[in-house]
Amino acid sequence: MSGEMIKGTARARVIRSGEGFRELGLLVFIAILCVAFQLRNHSFLTLANIKDLLDNTAILGILSVGMTLVLITGGIDLSIGATIALAGMTSALTGMVIPAINPLLSILEGMAVGLVIGSVIGLLVARFNILPIIATLGLMNIVRGATYIESGGAWVSSYQMSDGFKALSTGTTLGVNNLVFIALVIFVLFWYFVNHTKTGRRIYAIGSNPEAADISGIPRRRLLWLVYATMGVLAGLAGVLWVSKFASAQGDTALGYELNVIAACVLGGVSISGGSGKASGLILGVILLGMLNNALPLINVSPFWQQFIQGVVILAAVLTNVAVKRNNIRLALRKRAI
């Protein structure tokens, strides 16, 4: 009995060290890329460029937090690109009608739009057992259509936005760009939530084994709703920030952006089949994707190669992940052999 337990913990340790290895590997990969980029273009590792990189990656980071929660439950959310567009468009149109509106109210408005959309998705998934990919696919179409109808196909351009609204993304808090500051706060909250609260741990439980979660009395449906509602709120927030950053609200804002967000999560080691994903890995995945977006133009890679390179990196990361996991399991089994 005791021998079994020791072997059990040994296996757990091997697997846990494997997870650590993953993040270390990602870190090493990022470091190698940094050196390579720096050798090609000496302006890569300058303070200005790093600041630029972080500014441009912050929105991706905010969204990836929500998406990670969704992925941990074993779901997926394809509607966030559309939610970004609708929330951004709504706040921009309101700002056009009432130019004196407080920018913080604009943010709240966008988050409210996101909350409504997220709640509907949560209801469909949790209450009516619709597969997340289908429910969010449907909502994606509906919300995107609503965005076009709301705007009448027109754009809201920079000159129609108040300075306060545009300052949302250019201003600084405590010496850091607002976007980066918001993303950092959200990351810290996320880290605390998933590691140190009961609800956070339960979200992992419903992802890794829904039946067991039900049996042990976890309110699975309520948590699922919570997760999709959170994703919606974050997408709404990101929508307002997006429109403020690019100073333009269009019907096709963030078209297809959901796939970038999912890619960042997958690069960060979040499993798409649910139950696993860590804040530390996620932040590395987001930075890696942000770096690829930022650095490839700097080292004169043709923009037409970017998508291909991104795809190859994602595929390589996912396949390496599987290979490492297999190796861990084989090691663990070898230790158990008599």
Partner: protein, 345 residues
């Protein structure tokens, strides 16, 4: 007790015959056509009904293999990128001097190769869900298309090539005839061959299918290769309709195709569905699109309608048909409630 017979055939009854998802789709299709004909007096005639099909049928070639993919319990979101890549390869090779028939063959070969690549990764890395594999290849295939053609358009095809999408024989569009042949072939493959039975078996229970001797890996690869081949067909007809191609063609097709298959009553959890439903869904959405175009309504309304139809159909399927679709063995439910069924001695 000692003699138990298992009947493969379901009891036939009128109620069961009319109580099928496909009838609801037929009703929706009729409703769409009735609404369309009230919107425009020029709508309801044979020429318009049949002639309009060439505006939406190119996507329909993807719906057929996607039905197989979803019945397997997989999903393939790389199909639109495969369409773009094979169309780009065809156009570029033609403009580099290859004869058109060779370019067409190359288009189909590239499509099939993309499908094979997907299938092989899925089989070699079973831990990965098909969503993530095809998400990655979706970006890669589209990326290769951009590498080849950058942001150029490529066209100048010979005159006969436009016959594929625009030509008709006795007022029946050529594309409709090809689609009819493909639909019948896929229907037979799914419902009348052992290959089709294997697809259903794997969708219901992959492990059981493997233990009963099905070569599950080759079925997955074959279905994916078939999907790639049909993406090649879509590329042929789409390029013919547009006259030229760009790396960003067919953007978003994957989602429309999946929506049609699901609207057609194919369960996304795998193992159930019929080929007729998705085919009806193709015509419902196609005519809806065409009718909205007649009254100058923008495509945005269609987005909302398709999204709502998708969610409503799954909702109705879940509530109305869901209970009897996958009857769980009695013990399973007790275990799920925390009670272990007692073994009878």
């Amino acid at each position: 007790m000692s003699e138990r017979s298992i009947s493969v055939d379901r009891p036939r009854s009128l109620k069961r015959f009319f109580f099928q998802w496909e009838w609801l789709l037929v009703l929706i299709l009729i409703a769409v056509n009735v609404i369309n004909s009230t919107l425009s007096p020029y709508y309801l005639n044979f020429g318009s009904l049949v002639g309009s099909t060439n505006s939406f049928l190119d996507m329909a070639f993807l719906v057929l293999p996607m039905t197989f993919v979803i019945i397997l319990g997989n999903i393939d979101i790389s199909v639109a990128s495969t369409v773009a890549l094979s169309a780009v390869v065809m156009a570029v090779s033609f403009n580099a001097g290859a004869p058109m028939p060779l370019a067409v063959a190359l288009c189909l070969v590239v499509g099939t190769a993309c499908g094979l690549f997907n299938g092989l990764i899925m089989v070699k890395f079973k831990e990965l869900s098909s969503v993530i594999v095809t998400l990655a290849t979706m970006i890669i295939f589209r990326g290769i298309a951009y590498v080849i053609l950058e942001d150029q358009a490529s066209g100048h095809f010979p005159a006969w090539y436009s016959f594929l999408a625009w030509g008709s024989v006795r007022h029946v569009p050529f594309i409709l005839m090809v689609f009819a042949v493909c639909a019948v072939a896929f229907g037979l493959l799914l419902h009348k061959t052992s290959f089709g039975r294997k697809v259903f078996a794997m969708g219901n229970n992959l492990t059981a299918a493997r233990y009963s001797g099905i070569k599950t890996d080759s079925v997955v690869v074959a279905v994916e290769a078939l999907t790639g081949l049909m993406a090649g067909f879509t590329a042929l007809f789409l390029t013919s309709r547009m006259g030229s191609t760009r790396p960003n063609v067919a953007q978003g097709y994957e989602l429309s195709v999946i929506a049609m298959v699901v609207l057609g009553g194919v369960s996304t959890s795998g193992g159930s569905g019929r080929i007729g439903g998705p085919i009806l869904a193709v015509f419902i959405i196609g005519y809806l699109n065409y009718g909205l175009g007649l009254v100058n309504t923008t495509a945005n309304v269609l987005l909302i309608i398709v999204g709502s139809l998708l969610i409503l159909s799954v909702l109705v399927l879940n509530l109305r048909f869901g209970r009897n679709r996958h009857p769980a063995p009695p013990g399973a439910k007790m275990i799920a409630r925390g009670k272990v069924p007692e073994e009878k001695a």
